[in-house]
């Protein structure tokens, strides 16, 4: 379980590189199956206007706790070996990474399905709120984009 909220821009592939290295410290073979998801800021707001920035608010303490609880529960359910979550907070520009989720397991089914469900549960159960900034005005996003 490797969960962190980040206040500054990050490179998901560097997070994955560091995570893989940390897994190799514990055992020579990391899982035979590894699934990742990277989410980035869309260049347009919900109404189609060009987006200036996306602001992400969270509930310090609860957000980290919820992500850790969800990750732990799913890792157990799916029998996966390791889980990584990095999630941005603060003000992001279009195309900046928001989230990376990664799961390593012995088989592709658990890796892929756990990664997908973890992402979905983060979106609905981890306290984050997005505000889209367009022409200097901020609008809170109501809920999530469809799958």
């Amino acid at each position: 379980m490797d969960v962190e909220l980040l206040a500054a821009p990050f490179d998901p592939l560097q997070s994955l590189t560091a995570w893989q290295a940390s897994l190799r410290v514990r055992r020579p073979c990391i899982g035979a199956a590894e699934a990742h998801f990277i989410g980035r800021v869309r260049p347009v707001a919900a109404d189609g206007a060009p987006l200036e920035a996306l602001e992400i608010e969270h509930y310090p303490g609860m957000t980290e706790r919820q992500i850790a609880a969800i990750s732990q529960a799913l890792a157990l359910d799916y029998g996966v070996a390791a889980v990584l979550v990095r999630h941005r907070v603060g003000r992001l520009k279009p195309d900046e990474p928001i989230v990376v989720v990664a799961v390593t397991a012995d088989r592709r089914g658990p890796a892929l399905h756990c990664c997908q469900e973890l992402l979905e549960r983060l979106k609905h159960e981890a306290p984050f709120w997005k505000r889209e900034w367009v022409n200097g005005c901020g609008n809170w996003v109501a809920g999530n984009t469809p799958l």
């Binding site: 989410g39 509930y59 306290p127 809170w140």
Partner: protein, 81 residues
């Protein structure tokens, strides 16, 4: 926070509508998040159905009795990931 108090927190759109992010409230026996919402005049007789409640960083029901020193938060619809 003094003993005998509750802490109430608001986030995102709820915070902006209310104009504050954190208040304390006297603890009374049997007080619930629903009662705190009314006592703080947060709008109507109860939170909208889309608002979720957390007590001490865990999701909870609107009618959970609050203990002395609890932190209760009202959370507008989540949009993470």
């Amino acid at each position: 926070m003094k003993s005998g108090e509750l802490r109430v927190r608001l986030f995102a759109g709820l915070r902006e509508e209310a104009g504050w992010q954190e208040r304390s409230l006297a603890h009374q026996s049997g007080i619930t998040p629903a009662a705190a919402w009314m006592l703080l005049n947060l709008g109507g007789t109860a939170p909208p159905a889309t608002v979720r409640v957390a007590i001490n960083h865990e999701f909870a029901a609107l009618d959970t009795p609050l203990a002395n020193g609890d932190e209760v938060a009202f959370l507008p619809p989540i949009s993470g990931g």
